[in-house]
């Protein structure tokens, strides 16, 4: 089906052929074109220029992740504050849940709000750092899998924002108990959105740009 059907042979890419492939629909155009005539998407050559946007969005996400962890996510008051009113940050909320024995929920929140965002910052930085560097086929496959995980999992960090929204809408029992959202909710939502944009700006074709034109001693 391809010129170069064989896995071991170097693969002809649109860029090497002096053409531009559309990332939206796959159509191939001469390199001079800038807009895909089929889907209207912009035709961008797979070069390191896209990394500027990746780093910029990533920095924005990182900046907003700091107040998201320092400020309270939830403000709870029980019995009009007589039984104590508490402000809990993301980490504080997880600790509280463990304290009450809700290990499963604590794990969900901990993974979605702390492990996944931090993992994403590290994964995107690494992908952007090694983008375009020489790689073997096996390394390239690993990087693509990592990119797909980052792309898929990014949205799921929003879960904590939704939890805060549902809790503060639902738990409005006047004197008995009430929950209000804290400022961390906004900065956390922004942080997640910016990292999603960062992952979207990354061009996965860069992962494959690093492959040598002729596969020299590929163990594959």
């Amino acid at each position: 089906m391809t010129p170069g059907q064989d896995q071991h042979a170097p693969v002809m890419t649109a860029h090497r052929a002096g053409l531009a492939g559309c990332r939206g629909c796959g159509r191939v155009w001469p390199e001079s074109e800038t807009i895909c005539a089929r889907c209207g998407g912009a035709l961008v050559p797979p070069d390191r220029r896209c990394l500027n946007a990746v780093w910029a969005w990533l920095a924005a996400g990182l900046i907003f992740y700091v107040p998201a962890n320092l400020f309270p996510m939830l403000k709870t008051s029980v019995f009009g504050g007589l039984r104590g009113s508490s402000e809990s940050t993301i980490l504080g909320g997880v600790v509280e849940l463990i304290h009450y024995g809700n290990y499963w929920v604590a794990a969900v929140i901990f993974v979605a709000s702390i492990v996944v965002p931090l993992g994403k910052f590290i994964a995107i930085s690494w992908l952007a750092l090694v983008a375009g560097r020489p790689a073997t086929v096996r390394q390239a496959h690993k990087r693509l899998v990592l990119y797909e995980i980052v792309e898929f999992i990014g949205r799921w960090s929003m879960i904590d924002v939704f939890v805060v929204a549902i809790l503060s809408a639902l738990v409005q029992l006047g004197f008995v108990a009430s929950i209000h959202p804290g400022p961390a909710a906004v900065s956390f939502a922004l942080s997640v959105a910016f990292t999603m944009l960062s992952a979207q700006s990354f061009d996965p074709r860069l992962i494959w740009r690093g492959l040598p034109l002729r596969s020299r001693k590929d163990p594959e």
């Binding site: 089906m1 391809t2 170069g4 059907q5 896995q7 693969v11 002809m12 890419t13 649109a14 860029h15 052929a17 002096g18 053409l19 492939g21 796959g26 159509r27 191939v28 001469p30 005539a37 089929r38 889907c39 209207g40 998407g41 009450y100 809700n102 929920v105 969900v108 929140i109 390239a140 693509l144 792309e151 990014g154 949205r155 929003m158 879960i159 904590d160 924002v161 939704f162 939890v163 805060v164 929204a165 549902i166 809790l167 503060s168 809408a169 639902l170 738990v171 409005q172 029992l173 008995v176 108990a177 209000h180 906004v186 939502a189 959105a193 999603m196 979207q200 996965p204 074709r205 494959w208």
Partner: protein
């Protein structure tokens, strides 16, 4: 117009580049049920399914009906010691409507209600003429492109998992009962998942092209098959 299997390495006609790794493939019209994968990175390039367009349209209409129910019926109800509170989806979004948190309300409503509705409408608009073998409506191309761009931002399924987590969190604090909107939302997730399984962007672009949008004579027409 091209015959199948013919390609031109100087203009790129008759070729498909993998969106993930840029590997070139010779374009071929697939039979329903076939799946084309990239030879290098194994990304799915196209997977046409028999009757997929009609099904996506039906599922989009279903999700619109369910969304009306999800928005207007009560979502969750909570009670403790005679104090009770009921909330709808709008109530959830309006939880952030005080002061500085206001923009989050808009974002929240958008990602759980607005974008799923907009995507369903755009898909119906794009696919309705295609499913009847007619010419696509004007602006079908930007409509479908917008629908694809909005895909990661439509977060209805994440919201449902968020609901589950929130319920376990307040479980010890008060009694909770589900409203019809909650079940409508759960059904919505299944409908959206089914719709996504049938959607293959490359196939839809191909269908838009074959149905008569001017694209430089690069479409492969069935009657011109080699």
């Amino acid at each position: 117009m091209l015959t199948e299997g013919a390609y031109d390495l100087t203009t790129g006609a008759g070729l498909i580049a993998c969106p993930r790794c840029d590997a070139l493939h010779v374009e071929r019209e697939l039979e329903p049920g076939e799946t084309a994968r990239c030879v290098r990175c194994n990304t799915v390039l196209a997977s046409p399914r028999a009757g997929a367009f009609t099904r996506i349209i039906a599922l989009s209409f279903t999700s619109l009906v369910l969304m009306v129910g999800a928005v207007f019926f009560p979502f969750l109800e909570i009670s403790r010691m005679g104090f009770g509170n009921q909330t709808s989806l709008f109530g959830v979004a309006l939880a952030f409507s005080h002061g500085a948190l206001m923009p989050l309300t808009v974002a929240l409503l958008g990602s759980i209600v607005g974008l799923p509705v907009l995507r369903a409408v755009l898909l119906v608009y794009t696919l309705l003429p295609l499913s009847r073998n007619r010419r696509p409506f004007a602006h079908a191309v930007p409509a479908f492109r917008l629908s694809e761009a909005l895909r990661p931002w439509s977060m209805a399924e994440i919201f449902v998992i968020g609901t589950a987590v929130a319920l376990i969190k307040v479980g010890g604090l008060a009694n909770i009962s589900f409203g019809p909107a909650f079940w409508a939302f759960c059904a919505l997730i299944l409908v959206n998942a089914a719709s996504n399984a049938f959607t293959s962007a490359a196939t839809i672009w191909d269908a838009i092209e074959d149905a008569g949008l001017p694209t430089d004579g690069r479409e492969i027409m069935p009657e011109h098959r080699a």
